[in-house]
């Protein structure tokens, strides 16, 4: 049932046939296509991962709506949890990182945070155990939206001329240094920022999932051997558990880091560069 079912089958088959341990590979991230259809020449594939994406998204929406359905001045438990998350983004990022003009961006940043968090959490939720964010398409979409947004806000707040001039010719830099600084700044603002934003999230979830799968399947493989390797089985299982907790940390951290970085980019667009 899990995403690692083919890999698990591989492990057990290897046990039967006497082949060595077959480490899980990229196949983890390309599960079987449940259904596929074509719309306007674009192929859509429904897989476990897209289903998990929808489950995570709808669950998060349901949670948020339930949290604010009947808002009270003295919050209930659910409202308190939702409020804490929203306040973290609103006060901690929109107000403190983006700056005094940042509060209108709070809903966008909160949506970003909650969307990433919900999808990340799927990495350790039983029977899902893979985050849609370990598919590059989804972090890429978010990064692309952020990229468009912070450039648009920069043009809107500073004017196109000043915004691009400040990026091309960083103020306060000796003229000769522009030979070095200008290409770096262009690369930084228009390529590196969105790319790192997407890759950081993707790679963390990708690697996290691989770690969990390797330790879990390793434990199964070691337990299924009839020889001395059974001693190492518990170690592998323990590592899988430890890595799950580590993954929990990464899940929150990556959701937060993505949002904070978007906050700093927005701050750079709103306030003139120093």
């Amino acid at each position: 049932m899990t995403s690692s079912a083919p890999a698990l089958g591989g492990v057990l088959a290897a046990e039967g046939s006497g082949d060595g341990f077959q480490a899980p590979g990229l196949g983890e991230f390309y599960p079987e296509v449940i259904a596929s259809f074509s719309l306007l020449g674009i192929d859509f594939e429904i897989t476990r991962i897209t289903l998990i994406l929808w489950v995570a998204t709808l669950a998060m929406i349901a949670f948020l709506v339930a949290a604010v359905r009947n808002p009270q001045i003295v919050p209930g438990r659910l409202q308190f949890v939702g409020e804490s998350g929203y306040s973290l983004v609103r006060d901690g990022i929109a107000r403190d990182v983006v700056g005094p003009k940042g509060l209108p961006f709070a809903p966008f940043l909160a949506a970003l945070f909650f969307f990433i968090l919900a999808n990340n959490l799927m990495a350790i939720i039983p029977f899902a155990q893979i985050s849609p964010m370990s598919k590059f398409a989804f972090p890429l979409v978010l990064a692309a939206i952020c990229w468009v947004l912070y450039i648009w806000i920069g043009i809107r707040e500073q004017g196109a001329g000043k915004y691009f001039k400040d990026i091309l010719f960083l103020p306060g830099v000796p003229k000769l240094m522009y030979i070095l600084v200008t290409p770096i700044e262009i690369l930084q603002n228009f390529v590196v920022r969105p790319f790192t934003l997407a890759v950081r999230l993707f790679a963390n979830m990708f690697a996290g999932h691989m770690l969990l799968v390797v330790f879990s399947l390793g434990a199964v493989y070691l337990f299924s051997r009839d020889n001395f390797s059974i001693v190492f089985g518990p170690i592998s299982a323990l590592m899988a558990i430890v890595m799950t907790f580590f993954e929990l940390l990464v899940i929150f951290l990556q959701a937060y880091v993505f949002t904070v970085l978007m906050g700093t980019y927005l701050n750079g667009s709103i306030e003139a560069e120093h």
Partner: protein
């Protein structure tokens, strides 16, 4: 099989379908956040801030009110005190005035009584003197006539003698009056 296809796939080259699905999913979250969740949260934050600030404001208003009441009470107390002092002073002054009036009245009364007494005394004395003058004249003439034994022929001479005698008597009486006045002034 997709697994076989996957082995050759590049994980950094996502299919367009997934990108569109990601866009739609995030757009839905954005929509719900902007239209429903964020406004509700902001509303709660605002209500909470107002509740806290309202509480502080109410407390401040109450304190100000209490302070005002205290001031008013103190002012009233001071006013009452000064009023009482004023009334006391006024009463004292009035009493003094009444006393003065009474004293003056009494003095006046006594002066009037004394004056009337003196007047009556003077009148009585004058009456006595006049009576005495008539009687003494007659008596003296009779007495002198009897003593001398002769009736004085000439009325003119007779009245001259009597007048002279009476004048002498008056002079004696005047001397006596002066003695009486002197005695009165020393009292």
């Amino acid at each position: 099989m997709s697994i076989l296809a996957a082995e050759s796939a590049n994980p950094l080259l996502p299919p367009v379908g997934e990108i569109i699905i990601g866009l739609i999913a995030f757009a839905i979250v954005l929509l719900v956040m902007f239209k429903f969740v964020a406004p509700r949260f902001e509303q709660v934050f605002r209500a909470r801030r107002e509740a806290i600030e309202g509480g502080i404001e109410r407390a401040e208003a109450m304190q100000a009110e209490a302070q005002a009441a205290l001031e008013q009470y103190r002012a009233q107390l001071a006013e009452a005190r000064s009023e009482a002092a004023q009334i006391r002073d006024q009463a004292r002054a009035e009493g003094q005035q009444i006393l003065e009036e009474l004293r003056a009245q009494a003095q006046e009364e006594s002066a009037r009584i004394v004056a009337r007494g003196e007047e009556q005394l003077a009148t009585a004395r004058q009456q006595v003197v006049n009576e005495l003058r008539g009687q003494i004249g007659t008596l003296a003439v009779q007495l002198a006539g009897q003593v001398v034994g002769e009736s004085l022929a000439d009325d003119a001479r007779r009245s001259g003698t009597v007048d002279r005698f009476l004048a002498e008597l008056d002079g004696m009486a005047a001397a006596g009056d002066g003695a009486v006045g002197a005695r009165k002034s020393t009292r």
